[in-house]
Every structure is written in structure tokens, then in C-alpha cells.
């Protein structure tokens, strides 16, 4: 860390704090040496701090630079300094930033308290809702976590599949989790992660018809159908529908045969065809 930060860190009144600040300084310095781009970003904010050393906003900015690089220790040190300079008038941005560090470093209870404060002032802060959902989930408070993530999903214009996976993980009942995933599929499209999670839940909870229907939909939309048809055959075989399973294996072999030779002859497909022929062979 450049030298102009030293002055700020050594301004701590207590020897212990000074020692801690020095340690943080060394850790941050090592990081900066490794990352020239961090150095450039820091030099800009350091200049601002040098000009206005009592301005908490700049420490918050500097904390954000470290947080973006997941350097949690110097990030938190800067956030603490910003909080100290704010003299109790902690901003929502600062609370949220500190909570993000606490969630990332396994202190969900601390994070929750700050996020409660943020959300009390702005109940529609989607980022804070998602953070609190993660903190609550880490505290095994799945129901309130679910409520937070549900609200966040209504506020985020374009949620990612990952958010729906997070939500499904909070739901104990397979039927509800599957419904939740299907909501995600309806909104973001049939992303493989959502389809595969739903399929796994359907298969593990004995919803075979639903799983087969889902596999049919996936197969219909796929340019390469052979693996999905094999999966269909495997599922049918597991539930004792051997004739139907063989039909699926035959269809998979036909899908392979329809591919251009350069693909058909690839090792993976040759192996799959061998496996399908073995599964399709009449029982002795």
C-alpha cells in the first residue's frame, strides 16, 4: 500500500490497533505489489484521501477496491475507518459493504444485524436482500431467507439461473423446490443447471412421469439428442420398464447414426454407442 495511507493507519490511538493496522498495511502492500491495476485504482483514491483525510467516503471507496479483489482484511479495515470517521452515522452503503465482507468471511450474524438496518431504511434493496438471504441461510433460518430471496427475485429485472438455484436449495419439500425451479425456467429459460436440478429432484422423489416429460422437452429442444435419450432409457430401466428403456436406447443409437461421421466416430460417441448396444442387447 502506498505510503500516504500509513499516516491514516497510524492515527489509531491504541497500540494494539496500531499493530493491527500495520499488519493490515503489510498484507495490503503485498497484494498491491501483485496487482498493478489495483495499484492504479488505489493511487486515485489515495490521492483523494491525502487531500481530505477525514472524508469517510474515500475509505469506503478504498474498501470497495479491496473487496472487489476479495482482499477482505484490508477491505474491512477501510470500512472500519470509514465507520469511525462517520461517527456513528453509518451509511447504508457502508453497512451493506461491511455485511458483504462478513457474509464472505463467515460471520452471518454480524452481517444480519447490519442488513436489517439497511433493509429497514430501504426494504427494496435487492442486493441487501440477497445478502441477508445468504446470511440467514448460513444461520439455518431458511424460511426468512426464502422470504428475502423471493422478494429480491421480484425486484431484479433479469435474474440469473444461480439465484433460482439458491432459492431451490432453501426449500425442503421436493415438489415445492421443483415448482420454484420451473418458475426460474419460465423466467430465464431452460438453463441446464435448472433443468438438471429439477430432474434430479423429480427422479429422487419418485416423480417419474414428470421426469420423463421434462426429458422429452429437453430432448426435443436439443441439437444433439443421444445423451438425453440414454438418460431416458436409464430412468425407465431403473423403474423396471425394460421394453420402453430399450426403445429409448434404440432412439439414442439412431440419433448417433444420424450425426456426421466425424462426430459419430469421436471416442465419446463410440463409447456411448457401445454402451447403448450393450444395454439394448436381449437379456440372457
Amino acid at each position: 500500500m502506498p505510503g500516504d495511507c500509513l499516516e491514516q493507519f497510524t492515527a489509531y490511538r491504541f497500540p494494539l490497533m496500531r499493530a493491527l493496522a500495520l499488519l493490515l498495511l503489510l498484507a495490503a502492500a503485498a497484494m498491491v505489489r501483485a496487482h498493478p491495476e489495483v495499484e492504479a485504482a488505489l493511487s486515485r483514491v489515495n490521492a483523494l484521501i491525502a487531500a481530505l483525510p477525514e472524508e469517510p467516503q474515500f475509505y469506503l471507496d478504498r474498501g470497495d477496491i479491496y473487496a472487489q479483489h476479495q482482499a477482505w482484511v484490508p477491505a474491512e479495515a477501510n470500512y472500519l475507518r470509514a465507520a469511525e470517521l462517520s461517527r456513528g452515522a453509518s451509511s447504508l452503503r457502508l453497512d451493506r459493504a461491511r455485511a458483504a465482507v462478513e457474509v464472505a468471511t463467515g460471520r452471518p450474524a454480524d452481517a444480519r444485524a447490519k442488513l436489517d438496518r439497511v433493509l429497514k431504511n430501504n426494504p427494496r434493496d435487492a442486493e441487501a436482500l440477497l445478502l441477508r438471504a445468504r446470511a440467514l441461510a448460513a444461520l439455518n433460518a431458511n424460511e426468512p431467507a426464502l422470504a428475502d430471496i423471493n422478494l429480491a427475485l421480484t425486484l431484479v429485472a433479469t435474474p440469473t439461473p444461480e439465484l433460482y438455484l439458491e432459492r431451490a436449495a432453501l426449500i425442503a419439500a421436493p415438489a415445492d423446490a421443483i415448482r420454484s425451479l420451473d418458475e426460474g425456467i419460465a423466467r430465464v429459460g431452460p438453463a441446464p443447471a435448472l433443468q438438471l436440478r429439477a430432474l434430479a429432484l423429480e427422479e429422487s422423489s419418485g416423480r417419474i412421469e414428470a421426469a420423463l416429460l421434462r426429458l422429452d422437452r429437453i430432448t426435443g429442444a436439443s441439437e444433439r439428442k443421444e445423451s438425453w435419450l440414454k438418460r431416458r432409457g436409464d430412468l425407465l430401466a431403473r423403474v423396471g420398464l425394460k421394453r420402453e428403456a430399450r426403445e429409448a436406447y434404440v432412439a439414442a443409437l439412431a440419433a448417433i447414426a444420424a450425426l456426421p461421421s466425424w462426430l459419430r466416430e469421436s471416442p465419446d460417441l463410440a463409447h456411448l454407442a457401445t454402451e447403448l448396444n450393450r444395454l439394448n442387447a436381449p437379456s440372457p
Binding site: 492504479a40 433479469t158 444461480e162 441446464p192 444433439r224 469421436s266 471416442p267
Partner: protein, 444 residues
């Protein structure tokens, strides 16, 4: 004299009523498919969004419009014919160009100019394809402009079929004004004629958020989330794939999406690799799997472990899926490997005997092109290229000593990929106009 107040009102308000809006950004082309194209532009005042287009430059017979009035115009042209040149103009109303419309090649910025693009061929078709690759371009400085001009001179009248931005497109913070100068004012001609595809870099990530797909980067780019340009539905613009001719391009988000081995991005990648039937697979993302340039892929703390993740978690999946070329930036240098496979550790674990599939420089006029069988076999080798110097090279000495690379250069420049059937030619041009590296991969 009842007309007098009307005359007065017209005199007072006519300038406002008839003031023409100005296009302050674009037009630029997004999410190209063989049958569709997204045209985007920005105006200084809100107005309707209309694209007039057609195959005859003097007669733009078709119109496509978006609902409402806005300054951010996004218009989807659908029902297009593959591999066909279209001419277009943008504005608030359908425009009929005059009979003396400018000839092709006279495109100039300004209102109601007529531009052109060519739709991609049907997926899988063989077509000579030129791709321009820019890593970390967005410095807005002379080096960026020099790199651009060298490419323009190199390609001459040969069209750029598509171009890739490898992230850190607009320094320092990926803000809208950064983008305006670093991208929209830097490459206006290419933006109007060639679709651009981007991946998120760490500097773009300062003003964008992948989990919520919000912020400047996600506002600017329209990228395929539903597999509409080829490939599997990703459900997010953060990572996606698309086809162009017989090439399958895979864009990963190495900066801000979950990089866990069981995460959504990895599950999508595996499904996408399994699904594709194209001859070539080109993957691109921001953080390099190997580098000893302005970043060090051996340091766990560098870039918060993202380079480690891409090498140890994502590279095995890409190689299992038969990737041919891996393009990255982040490190402001040019580093190019041999034909390699299976190196997922730090540089001190690199073993040429185990990890180099084909030695030599890969040059047809040197040791010979790298050769791969035409099959989708796992682990038969790819070339890894760090080309992150389209905006600047390192101003300080850098090690450039990763043993996996055949060549490492601390020089500004950009890369060009030419694919024709089962042959891929790669070129690196520096900012002085010198062809500093080249290699070929041939499938047989």
C-alpha cells in the same frame, strides 16, 4: 387577424418541434444470427426506434420498429436471409433513401446514413470467416487507436465478420462515459458493420453486476441468453455461446459469475460443449489460464484466484469438450502456447513431455501447422492465447517466462482469426503494423 397568434406560436416553437435529434452512439450490431440482427443506437432526445432495411441500398423496403420512445434504441430485425448483405438506416420514422444514395463503402457517421451488414451463414456452413480479437482495449489513447488502425490497414476491404472484446473494454471503471470514448468513439465504423461479442472484464465489473445482470456493461450489450444464436440456453448474458459458420464460440464470465465446479456456469458449459456440432470450438474469457505478464497465474492471490479457477476448474471441461482455441486478456501482453493439453497446475508443474501435444511454432512456413484429427475427441490439444494488449502493453518489464508459451511479447496489438473450412489461421499484429506471430491449426 386570427392567424397572428398561430404564426407567433409557430415562430416560437418551431425550432423545438422540428429540432432533429442527434445520434450520439452507434448504430451498432448485436446478437447476430443467420436470420436476425439486433440494431442499437442512442439519441440525445427521446424518439421512436425504427430501422429501415433491405438488400437494395437504394430501396430500403422493410421496416422494423420497437415499442415506445426512448434514447436507447434496440430494434430486432428478424426473418433475414442467411449470408446476405443488408443495408440499413436508423431513425424515428421509416426512411426512404434518395435515388442518389451513397454507394457502399461511403458510410459516414451522422443521421440517416445508410450502413450495411452481412448476416451469418447457416450454422455449420463453410465460409471464409475473419474475426478480430481485442483484449483490454479501452485505454482511449493513441496506442488503442494505433492498434485499431493497423488492423484496418491489414484487413483492407476484406470485411470483418465478427469481433470479440475480451473484457476491460473501457478503462478505468467501465462507466457509460468510459464506454463512449473507448468503444463507441473508437470503433464507429466497425460497430456499424460487424457484430461485436463481449465478455466481462474486471474493469467492466466495476460498473456492472453479473448475478443481477445490471449495470453499464449489461445495459450496453444485447447478448443471447436463450441459445438463439446457437448453443444451449444459458439464461444469462454473463456467459453464452453462438455459432458463426462452422465455428462455435463460447463466452465465459471469469470475473463475476459463480466459478464453482457444480455451479450454473459449469453445468451450462458442459451441456453446451456436448451439444455443439460445429467443426471449431473457440472459447473466450477475461482471466488467462496461464500468464507471466502484468499478472501472474502462479500467484493464488492475483485477481482473487480467478486465473486459478479458470485453469483448474474450467480448462479441464473445455479440453474434455474438444476446445481448439482459448482466448483471454487481463494481462497486458501477448503470450501464445504450443498445441497443449492437460496442464492445470502452476508453471513449475509444467512438463513439456506430458502437456505439449505438438511442438514447433505451428507455422506453415516454419515447423508446419498444428494438426488435429477431425473429430470431437477430448484432450487432443488447443492453443492458448493471451492477447490483452489492444489498449497498451506493460510500461514496466514483465517476466514473460511461462514455459507453456511458444512466444511471449510485451507489445501492444490485436489478433486476427481466419477460418476457412478445416483450417484456422491466427495472426498477432502489433501497434507498429508488424505481424509478430502467426500459426495455423488444420483438421484432417
Amino acid at each position: 387577424m386570427k392567424l397572428r397568434p398561430l404564426f407567433l406560436a409557430l415562430t416560437l416553437f418551431a425550432p423545438a418541434i422540428f429540432a432533429a435529434t442527434t445520434i450520439v452512439r452507434g448504430p451498432y450490431l448485436q446478437s447476430a444470427t443467420p436470420t436476425s440482427m439486433v440494431v442499437r443506437w442512442r439519441t440525445d432526445m427521446t424518439e421512436a426506434s425504427v430501422v429501415s432495411y433491405g438488400t437494395d441500398r437504394a430501396q430500403l423496403a422493410m421496416n422494423s420498429k420497437a415499442e415506445g420512445i426512448t434514447t436507447e434504441h434496440v430494434v430486432l430485425l428478424s426473418g433475414l436471409t442467411p449470408a446476405t448483405q443488408y443495408h440499413y438506416t436508423v431513425g424515428s420514422v421509416a426512411v426512404v433513401p434518395s435515388a442518389t444514395a451513397k454507394a457502399a463503402g461511403e458510410d459516414a457517421p451522422g443521421r440517416a446514413s445508410t450502413y450495411s451488414f452481412t448476416t451469418p451463414p447457416v450454422a455449420g456452413a463453410v465460409k471464409p470467416t475473419r474475426v478480430w480479437v481485442l483484449g483490454d482495449p479501452g485505454t482511449k489513447n493513441k496506442v488503442q487507436a494505433d492498434v485499431r488502425d493497423v488492423y484496418y490497414k491489414f484487413t483492407g476491404s476484406r470485411p470483418t465478420d465478427l469481433w470479440l472484446l475480451l473484457g476491460d473494454n473501457a478503462y478505468p471503471d467501465g462507466t457509460d462515459s468510459d464506454y463512449q470514448k473507448a468503444i463507441f468513439e473508437m470503433y464507429p465504423a466497425t460497430l456499424r458493420t460487424s457484430p461485436v461479442w463481449s465478455t466481462l472484464g474486471n474493469h467492466d465489473g466495476k460498473s456492472a453486476n453479473s448475478p443481477t445482470q445490471s449495470g453499464v456493461y449489461y445495459d450496453i450489450f444485447t447478448l443471447p441468453t436463450q441459445g438463439q444464436a446457437g448453443g444451449v440456453t444459458s439464461g444469462t448474458e454473463a456467459y453464452y455461446s453462438f455459432d458463426y459458420a462452422n465455428i462455435h464460440f463460447i463466452c465465459l464470465d471469469s470475473h463475476d459469475s459463480n466459478r464453482a465446479i457444480d455451479g450454473a456456469m459449469m453445468q451450462w458449459l458442459k451441456a453446451d460443449l456436448e451439444e455443439t456440432r460445429r467443426d471449431w470450438i473457440v472459447a473466450f474469457f477475461h482471466h488467462p489460464t496461464y500468464t507471466k505478464g502484468t499478472h501472474d497465474s502462479d500467484k493464488d492471490s492475483d485477481s482473487a484466484g480467478r486465473m486459478n479457477d479458470m485453469r483448474a476448474i474450467f480448462l479441464p471441461a473445455l479440453e474434455q469438450g474438444g476446445v481448439d482455441l482459448v482466448l483471454t486478456g487481463h494481462s497486458h501482453v501477448y503470450e501464445r502456447s504450443f498445441l497443449i493439453d492437460g496442464h492445470y497446475g502452476k508453471s513449475d508443474t509444467f512438463n513439456a513431455a506430458a502437456h505439449v501435444r505438438q511442438k514447433g511454432n505451428g507455422r506453415p512456413d516454419g515447423d508446419g501447422a498444428y494438426r488435429k484429427p477431425r473429430t470431437r475427441a477430448p484432450h487432443i490439444g488447443e492453443v492458448s492465447v493471451v492477447t490483452g494488449s489492444a489498449g497498451h502493453a506493460s510500461s514496466k518489464p514483465v517476466p514473460l517466462n511461462h514455459p507453456i508459451f511458444f512466444l511471449s511479447l510485451n507489445e501492444a496489438g490485436s489478433s486476427v482469426i481466419d477460418v476457412n473450412g478445416l483450417r484456422l489461421d491466427f495472426t498477432f499484429l502489433n501497434d507498429k503494423g508488424e505481424k509478430r506471430d502467426w500459426f495455423s491449426i488444420v483438421k484432417e
